[in-house]
Amino acid sequence: MTAAASQNLSAGQVVQGVLDWAAASLMFLLMAMTCVDVAGRYFFNHPLPGGLELTEITMVLLVFAGLPIVTTAREHVTVDIVPLIRNRWLQRVHLLLVDLIGVVCLSVLAWQLGLRSIRMTVVGDVTSQLRIPLGLMVWMLAGLSALAAMALLMRALFPRWSISSGRPASDH
């Protein structure tokens, strides 16, 4: 985020900045909406219209907004009590395989969510109260998963490449 101040921004840094801001705003929104909903209900006898579905949509977007960064920063929970193989070459192969499993999982997820969003758009699924189009939302989830898959693939193939500007690529 501090990178925004510097002059030369790589595409990755811009993406990271945008995603961080999105995640932070969604997080704040989630908190604010709940508070407004409760206050509205008890003090003004008027809850936030569509509060339930807004909360649900905010949350799922929040979860996926963090996916590309958490994935490429290798912040997903991993158990590392078994020591790595000593041989550096085998170690590379091992870590490459581990990353590729992640890439495959995320790609399948993106593909399935993409299909689903097309189905939802065709049927015209909307939320019951505010009539928010669900197809569009799932399309965003698919896009974020695809972005996470691509970024992880880049990390796997070029260990020095990093989407995150703030944190240097750490090798653990």
Partner: protein
């Protein structure tokens, strides 16, 4: 049953090969479903699981409690808690370690994560224990163990996950954690006593304070008390749902941090980003585990286990103790949330089928998770302390934790022998 066991073996193998838990669990679950049902339904299960878990209103309680804990940390509420408990019991033998444990318990009342509690208290309590010449092992042991109270004293991330997984009331689970939390505090204080009896130099007493000063420190913990009272009181009074309580708690902690000028715009954004990332991580393992659990349930393993137990005529208590034994072993190698997610879908039906109370079992699960957080080789709290205090070795911290683990085992035994300790409050409030 065999298939399920193979699946468990595959997941563990992948996890130990350093595949992130999300991918290990969801890939195995998917492969299992694809083999049993065909690729099409297995693929459909992916987007279903993700959307259902991601868009569940009841799960929004998780990010909100995480946020509340993070704002409370920034608001420096932990410092006042420590000052107050120090004023009251700092003059005991090992008093600073005891004060640390009590302050951890207090912070656990506004923070639902053990790791956050340990990390926060380390920064507050360690400097003064160093100043008074406390041994590193007693000091860090008290922080690591005290930190585990974060998930026993409500709010609690683990209780929320258990509640959602088993459709047990989160409010009742929170209420059930209170008395065991007090019991745990007592056990930890006894553990400090024990350590200082063995080695009096490890924990010299601090200065005694007069009552005027004590009451003054007490006045400054009103922030913590108020937050706790609003969140928990609102929930038990039936004013809030857990999600609403969490939202109000997060909002309250945010206002506190603002009022104390502990938040610049940048820091606030940092807290939000950090909480959002934690949310992504937690949901990732949650979704992975749900995928895996879908397959395990499909294999009929939970029913098969129940049938086996019934056939063998094993006494319920033996089964329960065996399960706890399995947890203690698993806890040595697995991370806490994933351990709960992987095992509860299998053990919960078995335990409730034997006639045990679901809320009581939930608290026992939380207790074994707490033990897993401080036992080697992967006691997460110990690692967190090691990263906050790089000059204290892992070995020293693990050594310091030993008396507290003994305390944990005593507590576990009491909770098993007297379910009333756990169930008194939830029965009073929710029935």
């Amino acid at each position: 049953m065999e298939n399920a066991l193979i699946a468990f073996a595959v997941v563990l193998a992948l996890i130990f090969a350093r595949v992130p838990l999300v991918f290990a669990m969801s890939a195995t679950g998917f492969a299992g479903l694809a083999l049993e049902l065909g690729t099409r339904p297995a693929l459909a299960a992916i987007s279903n699981t993700v959307i259902e878990a991601g868009m569940s209103y009841s799960l929004s309680v998780l990010p909100l409690f995480v946020l509340m804990g993070n704002f409370a940390t920034r608001a420096r509420l932990s410092e006042e808690l420590y000052a107050a408990s120090y004023a009251f019991i700092g003059h005991w033998r090992g008093g600073l370690a005891s004060a640390t444990v009590v302050a951890c318990g207090g912070f656990g009342a506004i923070c639902g994560s053990s790791i956050a509690t340990a990390a926060t208290m380390a920064k507050v309590a360690m400097p003064s224990m160093r100043r008074f010449g406390y041994s590193d092992s007693l000091a860090t042991g008290a922080i690591a163990a005290g930190g585990t109270l974060g998930i026993l004293i409500p709010p609690s991330v683990i209780m929320i996950i258990y509640g959602i997984l088993t459709e047990t009331s989160i409010g009742a689970l929170f209420a059930a954690g209170l008395l065991p939390g007090v019991l745990a505090l007592a056990c930890y204080l006894a553990a400090v006593r024990l350590s200082t009896m063995i080695d009096p130099k490890a924990g010299p007493p601090g200065p005694r304070m007069n009552w005027a000063d004590r009451l003054k420190t007490l006045r400054s913990v009103w922030g913590v008390l108020l937050l706790f009272a609003i969140v928990m009181g609102g929930m038990y009074g039936g004013v809030f749902t857990p999600t609403e309580a969490a939202g109000i708690g997060a909002g309250g902690a945010f206002l506190f941090a603002l009022a104390r000028r502990a938040l610049s715009f940048r820091i606030a954004v940092d807290v939000l980003v950090e909480s959002a990332r934690t949310t992504t991580m937690m949901f990732a393992i949650l979704i992975g585990a749900l995928m895996f659990a879908t397959y395990i349930n499909y294999t009929g393993m939970p029913e098969a286990l129940q049938h086996m137990v019934k056939q063998a005529g094993t006494a319920p208590l033996t089964v329960l103790l065996a399960i706890i034994g399995i947890y203690l072993i698993l806890g040595c190698v697995l991370e806490s949330i994933s351990m709960v997610l992987l095992t509860v879908p299998v053990f919960f039906p078995l335990v409730t089928n034997l006639g045990y109370d679901p809320i009581w079992f939930g608290i026992l699960v939380v207790c074994v998770v707490e033990i897993s957080l401080i036992t080697p080789p992967v006691g997460l709290n110990v690692y967190v302390l090691n990263s906050v205090l790089p000059d204290v070795s892992l070995r020293t911290i693990f050594r310091g934790v030993v008396p507290f683990v003994l305390g944990d085992i005593v507590r576990l035994a009491v909770l098993i022998a007297f379910p009333a300790v756990t169930l008194f409050l939830p029965n009073l409030l929710f029935k």
